[in-house]
């Protein structure tokens, strides 16, 4: 038996004949129900476009104030970075590093890697690092937590709204847009197709 025309389910290791679902269909593992592939229309093109949009939005979302408060005469603006700094100043280094990684560094790397991979696939340029980038992207996926951060902003705002006046900065709008773009990016990136294209570019 030739392994190239067979595949296996990643969660139950059932030996399968590779199905090639069309756009709009889903391929599930017959034994455990794992979603094997869900092809998207113009996966490479859309990933390329969305990662450019995401990279542009990263700047206002990170640099401009998200929420500001006014309380008994004092006023303060908060950015993604100021949260990390405040934790650092209170000597909670572990938590500060974790917040930095999951709200700033990993989302940024995620977008940069998607951009690099999809650009190479779009222009059919082989690169010996493609497989490494794709592997890092898959491992990093889970640790970029922008949507959880958004929920954190909402809870914090509700808590503060009782005692102080809140002001939403332009950064927050950019952050919400970034959230939507990264969500679309994750759903447009068809991993099976990407790995197949990377394999084709190699040979």
């Amino acid at each position: 038996m030739n392994p190239t025309n067979l595949s296996a389910c990643p969660e139950c290791d059932l030996l399968l004949k590779p199905s090639s679902p069309v756009v709009g269909d889903k391929a599930h593992c017959p034994r455990c129900g794992y979603l094997l592939q869900r092809p998207r229309k113009q996966s490479v093109e859309r990933t390329f476009a969305l990662s450019i949009a995401g990279l542009i939005l990263m700047f206002p979302a990170n640099l401009m104030p998200l929420v500001g408060i006014k309380m008994l005469g004092g006023a303060k603006d908060g950015t993604l970075w100021s949260g990390v700094v405040a934790l650092f100043e209170e000597h909670l280094w572990g938590v500060a590093v974790l917040v930095f990684l999951s709200s700033i560094l990993f989302p940024l790397l995620n977008i940069i890697l998607s951009l690099l991979i999809s650009a190479h696939l779009y222009f059919n340029r082989p690169n010996r690092h493609l497989a490494h980038w794709m592997r890092w992207l898959q491992h990093m996926d889970e640790w970029a937590m922008l949507e959880v951060y958004m929920l954190g902003i909402i809870v914090a705002c509700v808590k503060l709204s009782a005692t102080s006046e809140l002001k939403f900065g332009f950064g927050l709008y950019a952050f919400v847009a970034l959230l939507i773009v990264t969500g679309m990016l994750a759903s447009s990136l068809d991993k099976v197709l990407f790995w197949r294209r990377i394999g084709q570019l190699r040979t």
């Binding site: 296996a8 030996l15 929920l151 954190g152």
Partner: protein, 203 residues
């Protein structure tokens, strides 16, 4: 009978990263498509997952006993534990947000600790029934893991915004580090658990 259907039982190893199948021989230690290291199952999946889970269990206790943050208003400090923060929200007529925090910071970590524990018991004692349902439990645990970071992000925002000297100040407490460690350790435990072990035991 069922176990015969797995790719490994038929002499194939699925690459963890790109999903490409390779014949199981002594020579090939790297995937021919992406160059990743080949191993039939995640390395020492059971041991690593159990060790990470045990550490998470130990840290879950300080995470709930010690104050996660101290809210100072007009010079009077008021330490909150995780549960205390939820009770404060309920008393402030913010029940929906209280529910959200309850789910994200109490129920989800508990579900993960118990769920991964049960999955490990399942693998160890080779339980035969409902392999598909166990796989679904694994998927739920892997999906909800990141949402516990909600509390950590909320604290990071509050600490940076509410910093008005003696008028009003929020200081993160020692439980924040412990809780963050619980979230990361349970996420790593879920990532190290290989669901294919459940299916390998099926007769």
């Amino acid at each position: 009978m069922k176990a015969k259907k797995t790719a490994l039982a038929q002499g194939f190893i699925r690459c963890h990263d790109c999903g490409c199948l390779s014949k199981q021989t002594d020579k090939n230690s790297h995937c021919r498509l992406c160059g990743g290291r080949l191993h039939p199952r995640l390395t020492k999946s059971f041991q690593r997952s159990a060790a990470l889970l045990l550490s998470a269990f130990c840290l879950y206790i300080p995470a709930n006993i010690f104050p996660i943050m101290t809210v100072t208003r007009l010079g009077v400090g008021e330490p909150h534990t995780i549960i205390g923060g939820i009770i404060a929200l309920v008393n402030g007529n913010m029940a929906p947000i209280a529910m959200l925090v309850l789910v994200a910071s109490i129920l989800v970590p508990l579900l993960k600790l118990l769920g991964i524990g049960l999955l490990l018991l399942n693998v160890h004692y080779r339980w035969q029934a409902h392999a598909k349902k166990w796989t679904i439990l694994y998927r739920i645990i892997a999906f909800v893991g990141r949402w516990s970071m909600l509390d950590i992000f909320m604290i990071s925002i509050l600490v940076s915004l509410v910093d008005m000297g003696s008028v009003a100040q929020v200081i993160a407490g020692p439980a924040a580090t412990a809780f963050a460690a619980v979230v990361v350790l349970t996420m790593l435990a879920a990532k190290n658990f290989d669901p294919r072990l459940i299916w390998d035991n099926q007769r």
